[in-house]
Amino acid sequence: MEEGNEVFSGFLLTRREFLKLSAVVGALVSLKLFGKSLLKSVDAGEENPADMRLIWLEGSACSGCSLSVLNGSLNFLQALQRLVNANRSVSSTEEELEIIFDALNFHQTLGLKTGGMSPSMGDDYLFFNLMGRLQKTYEDWVEEDLSPFILFVEGSIPTGLDGNYCIIGEDPPNTPKTFQDLVLEFAEEAAYVFAIGTCSSFGGVPSGDPNPTLAKSLDEFLEENGINRLIVNIPGCPPHPNWFFLTLTTVLDLHYYYYNDILSPSRGDLRYTIRNTNSALRDFLDEDNRPKFIYEKTVHENCLLRSSYDRGNFAKSFGEEELKCSWKLGCKGQIAFADCSLRKWNNRVNMCPQAGAPCINCVGKSFPGLEPFFEEIGKESPVRGLGTVTAGKVVGAATATGIAAHAIRRKKLKEKEKKKIEEEEFSET
């Protein structure tokens, strides 16, 4: 990164380059629909990026989502760049970082700030309140109508013990301020709200039986408190960094379209734009509010071990020399809705079943579920707390899928192999 007279080549992109990047990473959806008009407005230099800030709140979480997003660090920082004046030219690393940390208004783990002093606490209690800085800005937003913010919530929201299982700061002194209070303050006013990770999308590990802290997903928690608004769920334990990136850019593309396009009814009107974007978003989401273009197919559908599954060639134990389908070892790929098999992880290098580790359906609504992870779906094993009949119902859907898929394949196989599979499978069920 050179400074001075030479051309500075940092990591920030021009708007056009960014659209290309989105295509490469894989979000073809919004580009397909809005691509032409987006490019037109970029070329005409008309686009007003509508200055937004990103707030990332972390509750009853493990920070895995933040760290996974950081694995796509370049994409993360470029996405942040898009929130603020995207076409500004920079000439040094410091300026690049300034743009970034301007956009990332608040992040407990990754942000720079340590705390703002709250003089209102009195002379004998000097409280450095990290959240205080946040709240001052929040009041600005509401009262002074400043730039909108995007809210990411990581981690479930514990509601037991008055929410004191997750304390974020003190207000007034010595009185715990709970995460549930914080979320209620911000979720209503945010322009766009995302629940990142399985914990905030569906409850996740903290809500695993017996749910000692009464942890709730973001959807459920807001509904119970009378806030009905669209939450985009990005489940995954942890979610792939591309899922975060693509979902955010899809929303931003919609936002820019509705704000800039000459045919848009909300052109130039920020609040109307936000409302239109939120309703247009629903077309991109399935009934569980997950982006369809990521969570539509199962891990099983494109798994590279399908040929071994189709032939009934299953791994009987770990560490067998030939890599085989791990259905018998408990792989839940048939009911796990995520594109891991196509996208792969950590720079497309691998994914769980390919390393011999059966899929545990970490994107699932029931994760961590009641079934043991390393037992075959549909096998009649006593499930904790439930009778076998109820357990059967819980896993019944998966079994039906498995058998149905099997039925289709069977038509195409030869007689001999058909018989072999039938004997092996249906004798156990």
Partner: protein, 609 residues
């Protein structure tokens, strides 16, 4: 006023859920004596309860989600606990599996340490914030850009590290911005050219280490490829070579960006553990990584060259650590002189593989006042006097009597007698420090600059840097050994099936080192269902609250000592300037407080589970 509390809650750039409060008596006219510090965990999820009644094989996957950063550490500790419970001898685990477990452990150390150093720790020492302040960035609303405004520090202060002192000094003496940069540097010891330029590169290298880890594990964070009996990944030669080349990239980055000329600049008078010393020398020679003290040699007597003035001058010019000695960073945040390690990186060639004292490449032990004794797991206890629990005391000497954790049901009060979700572990009734520094001291690679072996902020950070380099070399050896097994011996065995009895009662423990320090999982199984599960994480040790004698954990003790050190700074300021009044000089404490807390690399979410 007669007593004051400074509180920072929550603490940013730690893994969430950490709160700190310093109490002290006195008013503005005298600097006062500290009554003490309290460090508290603010979040509880109950993972120990959630794994109960599940199939024991589920424990590694669920307990892994205690923390996303130390995910591999939890996975391995939990798997070791299961193996220990059903009587699996580590000598029987296939050699390849041991090597692969070591490789992913080493990679996760490097990954985590890069993240800790660059993302969490270094911003406290950097001049980037000066740049932002001087440009009048909208986030730093100090009103300095507006000439007409009279700046009142009680209005909108944004005391990010450095910024507050900037604003305060202007109000007092009306100096120019340029003057302040110099003044503040003196006070806050910040270096405008510190590692920001390598911030982006460090993130990139961290991703590469993640890629290498994912080659073995499928993905990172939260891979679950380690299973009782071995691992599930079958290595191939291409994959091993790819992982090795990624690791070498990481080693190169560390050697050129954090220390000078790829050397491990070690203090004099050290005596490294022979097993790791031999490996380090052979690997450094083989891969041209500079070796020890910038020379390629097998004779460690040359380590004394580090105390040579020339070597120190070179370090001073180039690295962050140049400031440390000059600005007393070895004097602040003084901890205690008792260090604990459970050992990590199982030595596949040892007689007792996995034994914390004899069977590890990076051995375990307990160091007290500079002398090392063997580690015994039965000496660990965990107490709840100052924690928000009604039940949950006990220790591995008798896991049967270790109480299942029950949080209190009465309303919580902050900073009272019970003030934290973190429990208080003790070793042989001592408070112990864990982490990179503890491991390096126990393995003989490092000696604190304090004569009494107390740790300081800079000791912890520097030990972490050295340890990251060390782990590059140890991991390289493990990859080389794996390559030998697969290529030359044609051996691809990574798993051995062990019987998991359907009936019966079993107990076991898995003790291992994770990047932040010593990690232990204990499990009690009955009829293939988990009856009791206990976890003690590294930050449990470091951020421990008070026990029944009233002695706090290391962080609390280091913070109490800190107030005295900051007072010396404040005296310096007051000598040359109009005296700072009480609330303002407390802000100086915030800088030091931040540096001290983050030098321990706390992960309070882990600690309270």
């Amino acid at each position: 006023m007669s007593s004051v509390r400074i509180a920072v809650n929550p603490f940013s750039r730690s893994e969430g859920g950490l709160g700190v409060a310093l109490d002290w008596q006195g008013d503005g006219s005298d600097l006062g004596l500290t009554q003490g510090a309290k460090v508290a965990g603010m979040v509880w999820r109950g993972i120990e309860r959630i794994v109960q009644d599940r199939n024991p094989l589920d424990a590694p996957i669920i307990s892994q989600r205690i923390c996303g950063a130390c995910s591999m550490g939890h996975l391995i500790a939990s798997t070791l606990a299961l193996e220990n419970a059903v009587g699996v001898d580590q000598n029987d685990v296939p050699r390849n599996a041991l090597l692969i477990r070591n490789i992913v452990t080493g990679l996760s150390f490097i990954l985590n340490n890069l993240y800790t150093l660059y993302v969490k720790t270094f911003p406290d020492y950097s001049g980037i914030l000066f740049h932002l302040i001087s440009k009048g960035s909208s986030n730093f609303n100090l009103g300095l850009g507006d000439d007409s405004a009279v700046y009142n520090p009680w209005d909108e202060i944004n005391p990010d590290v450095g910024g507050f002192v900037y604003g305060i000094l202007e109000t007092i003496s009306g100096k120019t911005h340029a003057d302040f940069l110099l003044e503040v540097q003196k006070i806050c010891k910040l270096d405008p050219f510190a590692p920001w330029s390598s911030y982006m590169q460090a993130l990139n290298i961290r991703e590469k280490m993640g890629e290498a880890l994912a080659i073995f594990g499928g993905r990172t964070p939260h891979s679950h490829f380690v299973v009782p009996g071995g691992v599930s990944f079958i290595p191939s030669i291409t994959e091993i070579s790819r992982a090795k080349s990624l690791l070498l990239e990481g080693a190169n980055f560390l050697g050129t960006n954090l220390v000078y000329d790829r050397a491990l600049y070690l203090p004099s008078g050290i005596n490294p553990y022979s097993r790791s010393r031999d490996i380090v020398i052979s690997m450094a020679n083989k891969y041209g990584l500079g070796g020890i003290s910038g020379t390629l040699n097998n004779d460690l007597k040359n380590i004394d060259v580090v105390t040579d003035n020339n070597a120190y001058d070179l370090i001073k010019e180039i690295t962050l650590f140049s400031l440390a000695t000059e600005y007393n960073m070895y004097d602040i945040g003084l901890g205690i002189n008792r260090y604990l390690s459970f050992g990590c990186l199982a030595d596949p060639d040892a007689d007792e593989v996995g034994d914390p004292n004899k069977g590890m490449l990076h051995r375990g032990g307990f160091s007290i006042n500079g002398s090392l004794v063997d580690f015994e797991s039965s000496k660990i206890v965990e107490k709840i006097e100052s924690s928000w629990y009604d039940k949950g005391e006990g220790g591995p000497s008798d896991i049967a009597s270790w109480e299942v954790c029950e949080p209190q049901t009465t309303p919580l009060t902050l900073w009272g007698d019970k003030y934290s979700w973190i429990k208080a572990p003790r070793y042989d009734s001592y408070v112990a420090e864990v982490g990179s520094l503890a491991r390096m001291i126990i393995n003989g690679w490092y000696k604190p600059s304090d004569a009494f072996w107390n740790s300081s902020v800079m000791d912890r950070i520097y030990a972490k840097v050295l340890e990251t380099q060390l782990f590059c070399l140890l991991t390289l050896w493990c990859i080389d050994e794996l390559e030998k097994e697969v290529k030359i011996n044609g051996n691809k065995v990574v798993y051995k099936q062990f019987d998991f009895p359907e009936k019966g009662e079993f107990e076991g423990g898995g003790l291992i080192e994770s990047p932040r320090g010593s990690l232990g999982h204990w499990i009690k199984i009955k009829d293939k269902s988990i009856q009791n599960y206990q976890v003690i994480t590294p930050t449990n040790w470091n951020a421990s609250p008070r026990d029944e004698t009233g002695e706090g954990g290391v962080m609390e003790q280091a913070l109490s000592n800190q107030i005295t050190a900051s007072n010396i700074l404040i005296e310096e300021i007051n000598t040359n300037n109009p005296p700072l009044n009480f609330p303002l000089h407390s802000l100086v404490h915030l800088v030091e407080l931040s540096r001290i807390v983050r030098s321990f690399d706390p992960c309070a979410l882990c600690a309270s589970q």
